[in-house]
Symmetry: C2
Subunit: 144 residues, 2 copies
Amino acid sequence: MQISSRFTIALHILTAIHTFKDKYRVTSEFLSGSVQANPVIIRNILLQLKAAGMVKIPRGRTSESITLLKKPEEISLLSVYSAIEPLESDTLFAFHKNPNPSCPVGKNIHSILDDRLLSVQKAMEDKLKNMKLSDILSDLNQLI
Amino acid sequence: MQISSRFTIALHILTAIHTFKDKYRVTSEFLSGSVQANPVIIRNILLQLKAAGMVKIPRGRTSESITLLKKPEEISLLSVYSAIEPLESDTLFAFHKNPNPSCPVGKNIHSILDDRLLSVQKAMEDKLKNMKLSDILSDLNQLI
DNA sequence: TAAAATGTAACAATTTATATTACAATTAAG
DNA sequence: CTTAATTGTAATATAAATTGTTACATTTTA
């Protein structure tokens, strides 16, 4: 199974908030137009980013925009990933429930794999930690 | 979303095939008893491992066991992962379809993220490549 | 007070994962 | 040659997760 598109949508959203901050008023409706996804999906992702302290979302009839609360170099892809992906007990790899406890393999396989697969997950997270929103923005500036 | 339990079940299966090769006759029924999952699920995973050249599955009424076709040191966790996970065009991260092509962000975000997230995926795969079935077997031998 | 926007709940649709049943095909034993 | 044990495979059911939609209360400004 793939990691859900909510993560890449969140990166799209953050990129758009910064890119258009001086040109347009950025609302969930505006962002929904760029992503081409339902506004409610955008709002829910925005709420998760807000809970992680990354964005400010003005309420009511305002002329303000949704804005970043951190500098792009301070927003790592890992922090976005963690804000968005509600992994069951933070583990990337799923296990079959109830392996046979009276089998020496069934009894021990879970804890053995847990340690090893956690280190795999950590390798991925380290890579995400070293990538920043600013990297994506500079990639984008090369293209537009 | 998590990576499906089929991967960890496959590791359980391979571990059991090797661990019990001299003590029991290893069949899909036997493995199903250790994993405590339906025999058909075990057989389907076994067929994927067979397609990857990792196991030999005797047919019919035989006294043979299901056996490994490679040494445990030659079976990397990456090869198991690749045999089992049918990732859409081999990409771990999913994207929202149809971002707005008339928006500079919508138009370019996919290709930018593609490159960067592929390198994240590669970091994970490198880690999996350096772990072997033999590592899991020696972890297990410490415990039994 | 009305209009514009967000926050949130409820629900529908779609897709994926997991489990189950059934049976044809293969092989060995009697 | 027939029976029994086992795998291969299809069809279907169940459950869970993802994505999309509608509706409306809440907040704020004009």
